[in-house]
């Protein structure tokens, strides 16, 4: 089923690691030779508007390659330790609007997990009667949000899990999405890692059993759930992927508490400063002095509640204060239903944000690369695009709100590993440049490089070939073409994600439908179709001009046509996905 599981021998694993490093170094050197030449000797100075953006796109790509090389530098192969004893485990199956036909196999399989001290909970955020009945039939417990959540932010899946954490007590939590059917051995294979008291998280792969032949939606992720996660694991930076992961309750709760203290502390300081600004200097002189004193005490480490009490008394004794000022002393996070948010709520990808925070608090993570749960992948383009947009937006939110480059407590490799994952979502802008370049050349004959010369080929081709070989070897021979196509073809999604996060557009967690949605998906891919049409037209246009004897460079035409065709082939995947109808459920 998976050829990258723990069946490999150690000897082979070590040899592969040496091979990865060798290929990474060779590719890196060739990349440097190429990009140095591009920067210093081949920029077309007569068309800087064109040559500089292309150079920027190439540099972006090279940095991405460096990150990738770091990621594969020291992959670890894990052998699961035997669990010490049989600690209590809560299995959380999260659901919102998925039908019982999807949930039932998961619930039954969860009940069949071979582990005596387990309790299976269905966390139904939809509060539905038929799901409650299903829980009873299958022997699961049923949890839903209480009255305290009325009118408060729900924080999507993170809120659902946090709500359940407050009502349960298992030492470890296995989180499963509605459709992720667990293997009976999932806990026996993973709980042993927690023998190390510093391990907070064990992640296993997400595997989809319904991928149609040819994987039209590019959901299979052997590179991510293989070398990439194993590589991140080598740097203690494997992160939680939302489902099929096991978490240590104590680590989650500790993270929630520390976040609570940080949030309330910041709020108290901000509120006191705001009070100070709004209080008239002459009328409220004594009160202002007390607030300044309170701020001083806070900086000296006085407890928030003591400071609040002092200020409350001072406010109570002051005559003529507007009522709203008294409200400013409320630092109990009144707007939240529950104060301690164990899973991070600051991003719509709560999984990555939570793992980042746990790492910053010194906890360890483990990636166990054995498929121990199988689920459903999106079966239509609209759903797939929604899911990818959410991942991209959530990841970029993490950069904005808890930048791994500056967050305290991380090691340098951890910072780079997290940043690398975020960095890749900025590719959309550069893809537009890469897609536009041959089109511009074919219509205008303006070249972004000084010359399509021998000097170009001698540097570009070795780098290009080495790069392809490295990826092929790292991915254990599994072709990466589908993944490559989608990383290009999804450029409008990546751009939209970046723009929406930086423009502060309200971003909501959209639940991925587990059943095929019907409809015409072509309008969703108009930018890609536009580029395909423009590139095709450019090739035809210049071919006609050449055949009519126009004095044009044959080499320039050939290179740009090949480049253009490569772009068309990359983009075509998404148009085919938009037209995909096979496997539709009746």
């Amino acid at each position: 089923m998976n050829n990258w599981n723990i069946a490999q021998t150690s000897q082979r694993f070590v040899s592969r690691r040496i091979l990865f490093r060798f290929l990474a170094v060779i590719t890196g050197i060739l990349a440097l030779i190429y990009i140095y030449w591009r920067c210093t000797a081949s920029v077309n100075t007569k068309a800087l508007w064109f040559s500089i953006p292309l150079l920027a796109a190439e540099l972006y790509g090279i940095v991405d390659l460096v990150f990738f090389s770091m990621m594969i530098w020291k992959p670890v192969k894990r052998v699961p330790p035997l669990p010490e004893g049989e600690p209590t485990v809560d299995v959380f199956i999260t659901t919102y609007n998925e039908g019982r036909e999807i949930l039932e196999p998961t619930a039954r399989a969860a009940m069949d997990i071979r582990w005596a001290n387990k309790t299976v909970y269905i966390l139904d955020d939809g509060n539905r009667g038929d799901i409650s009945a299903l829980a009873e039939e299958t022997g699961c417990r049923y949890l839903t949000r209480g009255a305290e959540w009325a009118g408060k932010p729900r924080h999507a899946k993170a809120g659902n899990v946090n709500n359940a954490l407050m009502q349960t007590a298992g030492e470890y939590i296995l989180i499963l999405d509605t459709d992720q059917i667990p293997d009976p051995e999932i806990l026996n294979r993973t709980i042993g890692y927690f023998n190390d008291p510093e391990v907070a998280l064990v992640q296993t792969p997400q595997y989809f059993y319904n991928i149609p032949p040819g994987d039209p939606f590019g959901v299979d992720a052997p590179l991510f759930y293989g070398p990439i996660m194993q590589g991140k694991d080598g740097w203690n930076a494997a992160f939680f992927c939302g489902s099929n992961g096991i978490l240590r309750r104590e680590a989650l709760m500790q993270a929630g508490l520390v976040r609570y203290v940080e949030a309330t502390g910041m709020r108290l300081r901000a509120n006191l400063k705001s009070l100070l600004r709004r209080l008239d200097k002459d009328r409220f002189l004594p009160l202002r002095a007390q607030i300044k004193e309170a701020l001083h005490k806070l900086s000296k480490g006085e407890a928030f509640e003591t400071v609040c009490d002092d200020i409350r008394s001072a406010l109570g004794e002051t005559v003529g204060l507007p009522d709203d000022m008294k409200e400013d002393l409320n630092i109990t996070l009144r707007e939240e239903a529950i104060p301690v948010q164990a899973l991070s709520t600051l991003s719509i990808t709560e999984d990555m944000a939570s793992a980042l925070y746990l790492h910053s608090r010194g906890w360890k993570s483990v990636y166990h690369p054995e498929i121990l749960a199988q689920g459903l992948s999106p079966e239509d383009l609209g759903t797939m695009l929604t899911q990818r947009l959410r991942w991209a937006q959530g990841t970029i939110q993490v950069l904005r709100r808890e930048n791994p480059l500056t967050l305290k407590g991380l090691t340098i490799p951890q910072r780079l590993m997290y940043f690398a994952s975020i960095y890749s979502y900025f590719s959309g802008f550069f893809t537009v440049i890469i897609l536009s370049a041959p089109v511009i050349y074919l219509f205008t004959n303006i070249a972004p490089v000084a010359a399509w010369s021998f000097d170009f080929f001698i540097r570009f081709i070795p780098f290009f070939v080495a790069n392809k070989i490295m990826f092929r070897v790292v991915n254990r021979g599994i072709p990466l073409w589908r993944g490559e196509q989608y990383s290009v073809a999804l450029f409008p999604v990546w751009i939209r994600a970046v723009v929406s996060v930086y423009a502060n557009t309200k971003i909501t967690f959209k639940v991925t439908p587990k059943q095929r949605q019907s409809g015409n998906f072509l309008p969703l891919v108009w930018p890609q179709m536009l580029f395909i049409a423009a590139t095709g037209a450019g090739i035809v246009y210049q071919a006609i001009r050449l055949s009519l004897g126009a004095p044009l460079s044959i080499t320039g035409f050939t290179i740009n046509s090949i480049w253009g065709i490569y772009n068309i082939l990359s983009l075509s995947v998404i148009v085919r996905a938009a037209l995909y109808t096979g496997g539709a459920k009746k």
């Binding site: 209590t88 007590a169 709760m253 508490l257 509640e305 009490d309 009522d323 008294k326 409200e327 109990t332």
Partner: protein, 121 residues
């Protein structure tokens, strides 16, 4: 491993909850219920006597935070008294020593003036 809970009052208006044993995810469910009940009954001036508590984990701490939120939002308080040093270490580790008011005795905790502000609710 269990948590014994005794409920009493001081000066007629301060709830004193005396705990002894272990405070963890498994044992705190009774305490959570009691604290919820106090808040629902508007008995929101609460002192928790932790003298007999020898262990607390993050779930135990989290139950105290939830109760603190409930009390504060009704204009009351939740104060801690007689924390033993191993337990205090856990407060420090999670930085919760920055949040709670801690007193050497139950009487000292109850003696401090109640805030002069009524809740907006």
């Amino acid at each position: 491993m269990e948590l014994k809970i005794a409920r009493g009052t001081l000066n007629n208006d301060v709830e004193v909850i005396t705990l002894s044993g272990t405070m963890n995810a498994v044992t705190v469910s009774g305490l959570k219920e009691l604290l919820k009940k106090c808040v629902a009954e508007n008995s929101v001036q609460i002192v928790i006597d932790l003298d007999g508590v020898n262990f607390i984990d993050s779930s135990g701490l989290s139950s105290l935070i939830s109760a603190l939120k409930g009390c504060r939002e009704k204009g009351g308080y939740l104060r801690l008294a007689r924390i033993q040093s191993p337990v205090k270490r856990v407060f420090e580790l999670t930085m919760l020593d920055r949040v709670f008011e801690m007193y050497p005795t139950v009487e000292a905790a109850a003696r401090c003036p109640v805030s002069g502000i009524e809740s907006a609710e």
